[in-house]
Amino acid sequence: MRTARCEYLLRFGDNALILSQRLGERCGKGPALEEDMALTNTALDLLGQARLWLSLAAEAAGDGADEDTLAYLRDDREFHNVLLVEQPNGGYADTLVRQFLFDAWASLALRQLLGSRDAAIAAIAEKAVKEVSYHLRRTSDLVVRLGDGTERSHALMQAALEALWPYHHELFIGDAVDAEMVAAGIGFEPASLRDAWLSYVREVLAEASLTMPAAGGWAPKGGKQGLHSEHLSRLLAEMQVLPRSHPGARW
């Protein structure tokens, strides 16, 4: 039985890991050389963060787990990432909008964790928040430029925004694990980030001349608790193939 703290760590680790895995699919195939390198850089940062979170989660699990057993030997129902990050890359506009929505949330979330009573968590947040602030500056800037660019780029960005928008809701829905972490002074109340997130996103979209999707509507959730979309199991099948087919091997 994993503690709430361990599950909390897995949520942050899995968000970073799964999003990094998605970005890794794109490596070497970007729309321009500089952009390809920048996105790979984001993938690398997120992978580095995932390793810190998962190592800490493994320590908390205390059952001989390590970052690799957690990444490679769990099934999809044991992953705790939000649904947003497991969504397929789609076109480049989709990849960027997904990243923008996530970065805007992650930069707020990590800032909250800087004040965590849990020193190990605060230390990871401190390292990660610098990277994520940079990611957010970059994706915000691209959203503005591509929203404003051509008719075609505007249409692609707007369509991506409409498609991915429903997945933002889950970021702000708390559960018993969140409540326990708030009570312990370790974590934050997810709903408390919503207003700041919305106002930041609204500002960037306005500058990009993109239309913020209407409030309400479909709000898929469950990833945090291990109930995912069909995409995750396939993503894991690919990611985990070698450790699964060579049990016990070291790489």
Partner: protein, 328 residues
């Protein structure tokens, strides 16, 4: 040797004038040629071919290894591989910039690649079938690249020499990481060791072919050597590679797939078996296992990214207009 068989053009006696003699004298004196300096047209064109071919090799070379990023078997190896593939993009960038100093645009070079007019190294037309191939590429392909590129750090063209210095440092790192990956497999389970041996079997000969045709068939070599944009012959570099790699393979406990490989005490070098040059020329002609796929992947990435590049240009223009309107 990411640049293979670079055509140096044919000099006509009229072009070998006094200016060209002075140019050659500078090179002989070890003075670097810089972009603003006068240079023979053939030197400029040859360098564009050589540097752009090298740049394209870095970019296309991202693909075979990139194939394993999503399946890297540990998070540490995944991070190393992502960083490596990113480095290769950076090498492409420096090299395109070096070529641009010779008066060709990056867009033009990319167009030449996509149209099949420009070449890239034959090695990247082989498939990466297992995880061990990632190790074999780092060890053998980056290893061969370094062998060729360290001398180029002293080549006659300044921007190219300086790009090579930056690139070589990273290539040396890639080679060590590739070898380390192979070592982990060689010391692993029987299946892992078999995977490593199989990768060596498949990558050995193509790696030796990377250095280009044997000296006797290498028509443009003499001119390139006089210009100091090629400092050793193909066969010299190939021999160095074999001599360096044999003990490394022994240390891994792997067997190099060449029954004729034997230490020759008299020469102080390893003798090795005949290379299948038909295979090499066939791959160069476009008939390797992955030529079509590699080029198609590059073209698709470029075409899919057109809206993105156009939008950034359009936004920059609009922003400039808005700024101008404001200032007026």
């Amino acid at each position: 040797m990411y640049a293979q068989m670079v055509d140096t053009g044919t000099p006509s006696s009229a072009t070998i004038d006094a200016r060209e003699a002075r140019f050659q004298q500078r090179i002989d004196d070890g003075i670097r040629i810089e972009p603003q300096d006068w240079m023979p047209e053939r030197y400029r064109k040859t360098l564009i071919r050589q540097i752009s071919q090298h740049a394209h090799s870095e970019i296309v070379g991202q693909l075979p290894e990139g194939n394993w990023i999503t399946r890297a078997p540990s998070l540490k190896r995944k991070a190393i591989l992502l960083a490596k593939v990113q480095d290769e993009a950076g090498h492409g960038l420096y090299l395109y910039s070096a070529a641009e100093t010779l008066g060709i645009s990056r867009d033009q070079m990319v167009e030449d690649l996509h149209a099949g007019r420009a070449k890239y190294s034959s090695i990247f037309n082989y498939p990466t079938l297992t995880w061990a191939d990632v190790g074999a590429i780092g060890w053998l392909v980056d290893g061969s690249a370094i062998m060729n590129q360290i001398p180029l750090c002293r080549c006659s063209y300044g921007p190219y020499a300086r790009a090579m210095i930056r690139v070589c440092k990273e290539e040396a790192f890639h080679m060590r990481q590739g070898y380390d990956l192979m070592l982990a497999l060689a010391r692993g389970t029987a299946a892992q060791k078999a995977m490593a041996q199989d990768a060596l079997n498949r990558w050995w000969w193509p790696s030796l072919m990377m250095f280009g045709p044997p000296d006797g068939d290498s028509v443009h070599s003499a001119q390139s050597q006089a210009w100091k944009i090629k400092l050793f012959t193909n066969d010299e570099l190939r021999q160095k590679m074999v001599d360096q790699t044999v003990p490394q393979a022994e240390h891994l406990g792997l067997t190099i797939p060449d029954p004729d490989l034997k230490w020759n005490a008299e020469r102080g070098h390893y003798d090795f078996g005949a290379i299948d040059w038909d295979e090499f020329y066939n791959v160069v002609k476009g008939n390797g296992p992955c030529n079509r796929e590699r080029l198609e992947t590059r073209r698709k990435a470029w075409d899919d990214g057109e809206w993105f590049r156009d939008a950034l240009v359009a936004h920059a223009e609009k922003a400039a207009q808005r700024a101008a309107a404001k200032a007026a």
